[in-house]
Symmetry: C2
Subunit: 183 residues, 2 copies
């Protein structure tokens, strides 16, 4: 089950490394930037769209989402790559009143692998199975993170149902709804 391994890879190779450092990175960022309404609780917001259709620039998905700046780089020696760089992007998300909320936002990158694999016949699964794999990825990841002491309160997984994609502000609304929940 591909999604099971990708969820573990996402945790072991990334979340377990970066989430414990997130609070300090955000503190350093706020010291050098004007952050008006930081999504309280300093979490990494991880977007998981059911259709695995991921864009590389969130600001192009919804005009109420603006790229602000990147958090400071984290350099970690990994598997022979000296000083491999881990960083996150900070976005400003506007609500219905036009007020900006800062948050650390990204898609779950392994979904790109699920999407591409479903397009390659030799990879072993097709589009019908892909949705199931995304759900399995989400549940496995949720389970792993709930049992992880290092990652507690440092993340928020948002499963995005693509039925509402007709609304041009579907994504910003989903993010803000989830930001409120954690306060």
């Amino acid at each position: 089950n591909v999604a099971h391994g990708l969820a573990w890879s996402f945790y072991i190779g990334y979340l377990r490394l970066v989430l414990p450092r997130l609070k300090d990175s955000i503190a350093e960022f706020c010291a050098t930037h004007r952050a008006r309404r930081w999504g309280r609780g300093s979490r990494l917001i991880i977007l998981i769209p059911l259709n695995a259709n991921i864009s590389h620039k969130l600001n192009e998905e919804d005009d109420r989402i603006h790229f602000y700046d990147n958090l400071p780089n984290n350099e970690i020696d990994r598997a022979g790559v000296q000083g491999r760089v881990y960083k996150h992007s900070v976005y400003r998300v506007l609500d219905e009143l036009g007020q900006a909320h800062e948050c650390v936002l990204e898609y779950a990158t392994p979904l790109l692998t699920l999407y591409s694999m479903s397009q390659e016949s030799s990879a072993g699964f097709g589009e019908p199975e892909r949705r199931q794999q995304v759900l399995l990825f989400f549940r496995t990841l949720q389970d792993i993170l709930e049992h992880s002491l290092d990652c507690r309160n440092r993340y928020k997984l948002i499963l995005l149902n693509d039925e509402h994609e007709a609304d041009p502000h579907f994504l910003s609304k989903a993010i803000l709804r989830n930001l409120e929940q954690q306060e």
Copy 2:
């Protein structure tokens, strides 16, 4: 099968992005560094130890391997992370005569995931299966790369059998043996 998905992920999310740019990165590096004996053919050498036991600093594995410098950073927008950094480390590997050979070297990062998963009871497989998974990873990756036009002649996979680990220069010798093969 975890290894199958990890091999596809390694190709889709990494090798397919970085290998086509490798030649240019190396050319840029040579313009600013003294490279005496570059492993001809500008390939990324990917180490795959059967026991999945990966160190983060190659120079600590074998005293004939010295870290030289990093290739220039590649910045690519990925899944909401603006300017995600992809880079590789260049090492100098000394042969029996003390001559230095430059090469771009790293372990296959997904093996870290295989190793950690085999240590976590909730992940689904243990140490006995791990060796099988590493072999499956190697064969799947080999197969994918052989059919990839973008990656032709840009990589070299080295499967490392850990039986010779008693030799303190086992790793440098394996690398040099493989460097010669490609010339």
